[in-house]
Symmetry: C2
């Protein structure tokens, strides 16, 4: 770093107004050293950046470091171990797809959304037209069903990083459907995106008329390309594959349609198949979590996230003895329905080996199951249980006596 | 743009795995053209970016396009006309300072927060130590007192862009003060940042013990450098200058201390001087707003933001006839206390010239004043009223018959 003192007025006069000069803080905060001018001030004005000391990044899943050989499947994990609060920064929002790993480069002026099928008035909307309609802004999570497909991974980013949460803004789908005039015999919709593989999902009409949102904004700016720019369907509480990116078509139909995406939804009863994929109550401790290290005995704030596809989180409990006893954690954020909810628990670590767990309860009273309960449900041995669908069982983190944190399932 | 079709497998094999290839959408959405590979996929994985079609940026205030000659004063405006929901993206959060326009380059490992003065146990915290303490996550706005210093500007970015809203996470200041042991005769705190000019603000102890937060995170990641990385004091509802960036010292004292920042707070009664700078109920229509243009008569969603330093927004009214009549708008987001709240109003424009206005009411029942009421209060002519402190009067936008939107005050 350039620690040479510079005359600021001269500096501004002589150069292209570079920024990054620091306070000459000689007092308490030693870190306030002379800075390095690295950015043109115009860049700093237009669209600010994070500190050079902040390096949190997403990572691809360990089993696939780049898109598959067809360029279709790719999963990139949110760094939950670095998260604060409930909003996931858009730049760190997870992305998962089987429909084309390369993001469509869509000009929003050319994009259209068609609503057709069993409606009285088929409609086609431009983006400008959609933005002229009433809208809502809500905070909701999205989680990939495959989150925690391999429960033995080391870090919370690897085990649980396929969930993120954002503020979503857009037009209620119910409004668009009402405008189109849904016919009496209709019972499902099929929502289609514009990826190279025309993936689509069948969604019950009852859900479509309830709380779904045709979203054009995420965290206060247009939906990011990796999240479906310019339009993403939000289906709150359902697994990620329903949240159709690059939304371009909604067909109203009278039955469940099997689609490219339904590899996971094959069930004798199609309604059961689809509806079982509402995300169950789930929670995970993000600190301390696998791969982190405690500096020694003493007070720590156990921190984590809880969420449920069925509504708001009503409570979270913490165990510091591997599930033998549980104490109430505190809810540290607003508990929005179908949204990440931040919990905290003040813990005095005695320096002995122990196992930390969290479990949550949602507003319907459903309690997140332990791994033993899941094993019993599937009638499989505890150490070899293969969870079908979303694995929302309790995550144990083992704290070794040297402070190292390990996955209790690995 | 390169519209040549490429063999994807060959492309991946031969190149450095570039992204940006698009869906070959030949259907409804014409915009899904063949894309241009512009980014290495590693970059897209690590920290996502916005669409190349999204170009919303902050702007410096018109009267000062770069920091002043001393490098101290600078104001950069949020593009409210492009905003959605209530979260301001951290990259577009406004910044205003009189303490050094160049951001201190602080290494968080070296940063310290000291709490001293009239306390039983003076304390110094590292960042790691602060993060071991209980915390809260809350959504709050920050607004510069100088927001709307010149009410005749053209756009809503220019008139109202010195306000933004984010999710803030950190340790309640009351917890730190309780740990230090505030002495009975104390009544104020002085909070100091690490800028080159050691600016500070005096804050009533009652406020410090109420809802202030020592924040290390904003919108789910560390506080951005322009917002005070690594530590910012959140004083909910008070004007921006109290929200001390680069927080390094809190001194507990027994009186209001005059500081560098108090150019605006000189008043015979120091308590009045300080406390009058809680932000009053304020709202502004962001669409349609100055500089925008309606494409013709028809339905539009009037959209805007309301906020108050005194608590949550309870209601917003819209006038489409220059204040002669008012109708209730809808609240489109959660109305968090001391936070931007999104409102909407469905409006059928008949194509005639008209004046749009919004006014809000907060949870104390305080109603945002019209400009005429403000003029009467200050006993000045309506066209020349000079508002002292925060100008929270109603903003009129004039819609011309050709659809052009103009500032009704210019």
């Amino acid at each position: 770093m350039d620690s040479k003192k510079r005359n600021r007025r001269g500096f501004l006069r002589d150069s292209a107004a570079l920024a990054g000069l620091a306070a000459g803080g000689a007092g308490l905060a030693k870190g306030q050293t002379q800075g390095t001018p690295t950015k043109k001030i115009d860049e700093l004005i237009a669209y600010g950046e994070r500190s050079r000391f902040v390096n949190s990044i997403r990572l691809p899943v360990a089993e696939r470091h780049s898109p598959d050989e067809f360029g279709l499947t790719f999963h990139v994990l949110t760094p939950l171990q670095d998260s604060s609060g409930i909003i996931t920064p858009s730049s760190l929002f997870y992305t998962a797809t089987h429909r084309g790993a390369f993001v469509p480069d869509i000009d929003p002026r050319e994009h259209r959304l068609m609503i057709h099928g069993m409606v009285d008035r088929p409609l086609v909307f431009t983006m400008d037209e959609l933005k002229r309609l009433p809208y809502v802004s809500r905070i909701h999570f999205i989680e990939c069903l495959g989150n925690r497909a391999k429960p033995t991974h080391k870090t919370v980013q690897e085990t649980h990083g396929l969930t993120s949460c954002a503020e979503w803004t857009g037009v209620p789908l119910s409004l668009l459907l009402a405008e189109a005039g849904v016919q009496n015999s209709a019972s499902w919709i099929v929502a289609e995106g514009a990826e190279e593989v025309k993936g689509a999902s069948s969604i019950p009409l009852a859900k479509a008329m309830d709380d779904c949102i045709v979203c054009y904004a995420q965290n206060g700016e247009p939906v990011r390309p990796q999240q479906g720019f310019p339009l993403r369907l939000m289906v709150p509480g359902f697994e990620g594959i329903y949240q159709i990116k690059y939304l371009r078509r909604i067909k109203v139909v009278d039955r469940f349609y099997m689609t490219y995406d339904d590899y996971g939804h094959i069930n004798p009863d199609p309604k059961v198949a689809a509806l079982t994929h509402q995300i169950g109550p789930k929670s995970v401790i993000t600190f301390p979590s696998g791969g982190q290290k405690l500096s020694g005995p003493g007070f720590y704030e156990v921190s984590g996230l809880a969420w449920s596809g069925a509504g708001a989180i009503r409570g979270v409990e913490i165990s510091t003895d591997g599930g033998q006893s549980w104490k109430n954690a505190d809810i540290r954020s607003t508990a929005h329905p179908m949204a990440h909810t931040r919990f905290g628990f003040h813990w005095n670590w005695d320096g002995k080996e122990c196992v930390l767990m969290s479990r949550c309860t949602d507003e319907l009273g459903t309690v997140q199951p332990t791994r033993a309960e899941v094993a019993k449900f599937w009638n499989e041995p505890l150490d070899k249980v293969r969870v079908r669908g979303s694995d929302n069982s309790v995550q144990p983190w083992k704290v070794a006596s040297n402070g190292s944190v390990l996955n209790g399932l690995s």
